[in-house]
């Protein structure tokens, strides 16, 4: 890239690497077992019919090749450790190293889920302490740490609502979901046996109170609301919303994906939310790991507590901690064992490293960063909703469209500038959305580099639109043809492919 506007990145020589199967050859070994200290058993005799012939194309490679293979692969990835990751709605913040260290402590990492409770008090204390922290942070009365991710938490939360309404005699039929909602919300409602009714937002990008009152009735179980919503806007009439639902016997579910805008500043439990989930892999900094694992604890008000998934963590009369399996009204289990415990450890470590002051400062910096970006870029990109932004800001590609440049193109061009793109074309209420969430983890230097990049891309979109449309130009692979890939999906390697090796 000769482009002098690109300050943050340069091209550099990087290793190619084939598929691991293309490096395999019989007799190479990456393992060695200790000698067997019990009599050998002929597995073919022991298993008879059930015995396996061989392991087909499983690889045979040495440890050295394994280290190189995955190290080389890793160098093709972008990561928070390399730079800003402004994915709106994803809260890509710093993943502290100490969290990884404590999560790997033998006594925690090697604990078996069925080991007796009396020798599991340490693990249980971690869960209890985290639960208590999350309850004060959300302002709720009860919580479960069992859900494995946000969507899983949504399902758990909606099941709580359903069980509660059922206990009142009627589970009802519908869930209201704003048009700006994340796809997991409607998908979750469906799994829980509810019809989804769309709720449109008003000109300010918030829930349309009139529409809500009109649509709310005894058939509606409740509303799934994200607050701040996916436009980064705080639902100012939140309590009115809650009242409208409650008046008709419905419940307010809050998708807590955007809690990074609220922690320490306000509590959903105080503004009328009945049940919500948290994404520990967003707000509480547990690493995304290229797509997971996550953790989606669900917190709720007292009335919903009896329905929590079992087992429920309880303090016994003697002060020890344990699990209560005797929960007659429980919605049942949503996952085996107790959830993604390793993520609970990390989230608690994050909370302790911050403390009350750190958590508040974190929220303030996250909102400060988003508003700084908004201020600096509102001259260059169209801002469809003018309501004030919390932790993220959503622009549209309206102006760039004149030259046929779309949000997806701008995103790809950001790659050449050394950044990971923002979230593309979500929320759906904004046509051609650029959804930008910097989080608190970005320095002023990095923010300014991002702003410069966005401004210079805006210029390029006018002066040389094709440069933007054909981006990225700096990566080891150029734009990949996703449509062709979906037409004839190749989802696994087969020996035949072997020729395409080495590249």
């Amino acid at each position: 890239m000769s482009n002098n506007d690109i300050k943050k990145a340069t091209r550099h020589v990087i290793q190619n690497e084939g598929l691991i199967f293309e490096k395999s050859s019989p007799g190479k070994k990456g393992y060695r077992l200790p000698p067997l200290d019990v009599p050998e058993v002929d597995y073919k005799k022991a298993l008879g019919q059930a015995a396996r012939e061989d392991l087909g194309n499983m690889p045979e490679v040495s440890e050295m090749e394994i280290i190189r293979h995955f190290t080389r692969l890793s160098t093709w990835n972008y990561a928070i450790d390399l730079g800003m990751y402004p994915l709106g709605s994803c809260t890509m913040k710093y993943n502290a190293r100490v969290n990884e260290v404590v999560a790997r402590l033998g006594g925690l990492a090697e604990a078996h889920p069925y080991q007796p409770e009396k020798i599991s008090q340490g693990a249980l204390r971690v869960m209890k302490t985290l639960a208590d922290c999350l309850l004060d942070i959300t302002g709720m009365d009860a919580i479960t740490l069992q859900p494995a991710a946000g969507a899983h938490g949504e399902m758990t939360g909606i099941l709580l609502m359903r069980a509660y309404l059922q206990s009142k005699g009627n589970p009802r039929k519908k869930i209201l979901i704003p048009d700006s909602a994340h796809g997991t919300n409607p998908a979750t409602a469906a799994i829980c046996g509810y019809a989804v009714e769309n709720l449109k937002s008003n000109a300010r990008g918030m829930v349309d109170i009139e529409a809500l009152s009109a649509q709310m009735n005894e058939d509606v179980a409740g509303l799934m609301l994200t607050n701040p919503n996916t436009l980064g806007i705080f639902e100012q009439e939140i309590h009115k919303i809650a009242d409208i639902l409650h008046d008709k016997g419905g419940l307010l579910y809050m998708d807590g994906a955007n809690m990074n805008a609220l922690v320490g500043k306000t509590r959903p439990g105080d503004f009328g939310v009945d049940v919500m989930h948290l994404n520990l892999h967003k707000t509480f900094s547990t690493p995304h790991g290229g797509g997971g694992p996550g953790s989606g604890p669900v917190a709720c008000k007292k009335v919903l507590e009896p329905f929590l998934p079992k087992p429920v963590l309880v303090q016994r009369p003697d002060g020890t901690l344990g699990f209560d399996y005797n929960r007659p009204q429980s919605v049942g289990r949503v996952r085996m064992f107790y959830g993604n415990f390793g993520m609970h450890v990390r989230a608690l470590a994050y909370t302790m490293a911050n403390g009350p002051d750190g958590l508040r400062q974190t929220t303030e910096d996250a909102v400060l960063n988003a508003n700084y970006i908004r201020k600096k870029l509102e001259g260059d990109y169209d801002l469809p909703y003018k309501s004030s932004s919390m932790h993220e800001v959503v622009f549209s590609d309206h102006r760039q469209n004149e030259k046929g440049v779309k949000t997806g193109d701008i995103a790809k061009r950001l790659i050449d500038y050394g950044f990971h793109p923002y979230t593309v074309s979500f929320p759906l209420v904004v046509h051609g959305a650029l959804m930008i969430e910097p989080t608190e983890s970005e320095s002023l230097e990095e923010l300014n580099l991002f702003i410069d990049a966005m401004k210079s891309i805006a210029r390029e979109a006018q002066e040389d639109p094709d440069l933007v449309k054909n981006a990225p130009h700096s990566t080891r692979v150029s734009r990949l043809d996703e449509t062709a890939a979906a037409r004839k999906p190749v989802l696994r390697w087969k020996p035949a492919q072997a020729k395409s090796a080495g590249e």
């Binding site: 199967f21 990456g30 393992y31 077992l33 298993l47 059930a50 392991l55 499983m58 490679v61 293979h69 890793s74 990835n77 994803c90 710093y94 100490v98 404590v102 402590l105 033998g106 006594g107 925690l108 090697e110 078996h112 599991s120 302490t129 922290c133 494995a148 991710a149 998908a187 469906a190 799994i191 046996g193 320490g264 306000t266 509590r267 503004f271 790991g289 290229g290 797509g291 997971g292 694992p293 399996y325 919605v331 996952r335 064992f337 415990f341 390793g342 993520m343 302790m352 490293a353 403390g355 009350p356 400060l368 983890s441 990095e446 990949l480 043809d481 890939a485 999906p489 696994r492 390697w493």
Partner: protein, 441 residues
């Protein structure tokens, strides 16, 4: 706060440029009455060394250095150190879902390799990028089967992990998918007669586990025949993935739902683990979860992308195949590295060691107590029935720094004083002999 990259001057400058005097102006949208005007009740800000001391204490308050005979869906296997050193590279563990393939090829290729290895091991044609775990994966498999053949009800073997069964009913209860169960025989295998009786034209699918929760390997082929005759789909759930090193893959199944924790994933008091779903090519568009596929770039160079997204919630919303979004990618990467390390020969050799340890232990226990479900093949788990209450036995074992088998009363009261024991390569002969001795007392 040491994680925050801002100086007071930076914040001042930014506020000036935004045009505000105080940070609270940015929180004005929050109605005053809901603003929190006190410190959160969380522990005070701690030094890194204090955080570590706290968790060390917790770790020490937990069992450590015990010989463990627990399996039952979570298996203790040796974890080669390269796994953690590789997944600890920031490029893997601090990356997001690979929605931008040009700067995510590392994660994408690793997952493509994961999908391939899962197919090789399970005998299926396609596998997805992971589910939350084996239990939720089993539930999703039933939902998938219902989508595939339009029928509604499901039959699940009682020899399937009890907690998997709980999760399945939680998922299915409000989707109009009644789940019925069928039992097992003397030898621990499913009761074919009962299955035959219960299966009907309404049955969308039959779900079994092999090796099942009692440690017994099912006759998948025979079950498949029966199930397919009735036009239903067979779902095979696998909790101990390592068994596939020597146990014939359930190629006759239509869907395989597997927990891959055994492949280098820490026990971690129950999670995070990674489920995976594999099936036949023809069913792929009904599959839940993410899929990585091969693609070509504008120069015809090979690359990988997330594909068939039209199945997923962010496109299909309420009509999606599942609501899953974030999955267990890093755990799948761990499993990929583990499968690569042991590979074609190592998984077999390791599985043989597990078989040998369990066989030896079962034989020794047999001298002091009753080992149930003889006559059908087993992998690394077996059920021991004793005179004495297994909880009492286990308390005795704890003093010897041994954690005994899982008492089954809670799940199978009819088995009386029975416990499910597991032996892996991590259980020395010495430990096994000590455990047998204690049981015999």
């Amino acid at each position: 706060m040491r994680y925050l990259p801002k100086s007071p001057a930076d914040r001042q400058q930014m506020m000036r440029e935004i045009g505000i005097q105080s940070i609270d102006e940015l929180f004005a949208p929050i109605p005053a009455e809901y603003r929190l005007n006190r410190d959160l009740k969380v522990p005070r800000q701690m030094a890194e060394s204090e955080v570590i001391d706290y968790f060390r204490e917790c770790a020490e308050a937990n069992a450590a250095g015990y010989g463990v005979f627990l399996g039952a869906g979570a298996y203790r296997h040796y974890r080669p150190v390269v796994i953690d050193s590789l997944i600890s590279r920031g490029e893997f563990f601090t990356a997001y879902t690979p929605y931008q393939p040009e700067i995510s090829q590392g994660t994408l290729q690793a997952i493509f390799e994961f999908q391939t290895m899962v197919c090789e091991l399970t005998g299926m044609e396609v596998a997805n990028a992971s589910m939350y775990d084996g239990s939720t994966g089993a539930a999703e498999a039933i939902m998938m089967a219902v989508r595939v053949n339009g029928r509604k009800s499901a039959l699940v073997a009682r020899s399937v992990h009890p907690e998997y069964r709980e999760v399945m009913s939680t998922y299915s209860q409000h989707q109009g998918m009644p789940i019925a169960e069928f039992g097992f025989r003397e030898n621990g295998r499913v009761d074919m007669a009962e299955l035959e009786k219960k299966i009907s034209e309404e049955t969308a699918c039959v779900l079994i586990q092999s090796p099942n929760f009692l440690g017994v390997i099912e006759d998948v082929a025979a079950i498949a025949d029966l199930v397919h005759k009735k036009g239903a789909l067979l779902i095979v759930s696998i909790a101990e993935a390592l068994s596939l090193g020597i146990v014939k893959p359930p190629a006759e199944a239509d869907i395989v739902s597997m927990e891959s924790q055994s492949f280098g994933v820490p026990l971690g008091y129950g999670g995070p683990y990674a489920g995976v779903m594999a099936t036949k090519e023809k069913f792929v568009r009904q599959m839940p979860g993410r899929l990585v596929g091969e693609a070509k770039d504008s120069n015809g160079k090979r690359g990988f992308v997330l594909t068939l997204a039209t199945r997923e919630q962010h496109i299909r919303r309420e009509k999606a195949t599942s609501n899953i979004c974030t999955n267990q990618a890093l755990i799948a990467t761990m499993a990929t590295i583990y499968m690569t390390i042991y590979g074609r020969e190592g998984l077999k050799e390791l599985a043989q060691q597990n078989l040998a340890k369990a066989a030896y232990a079962a034989q020794e226990f047999g001298k002091k107590a009753k080992v149930l479900f003889q006559g059908a093949p087993r992998f690394n788990e077996f059920v021991v029935q004793t005179q004495e209450d297994p909880y009492d036995i286990n308390n005795r074992l704890l003093e010897k720094k041994l954690i005994g088998g899982l008492p089954l009363k809670r799940f199978y009261p009819e088995l009386g004083n029975a416990a499910l024991w597991c032996c892996t390569e991590m259980n020395s002969k010495e430990q096994i002999d000590a455990a047998v001795k204690a049981v015999g007392q």
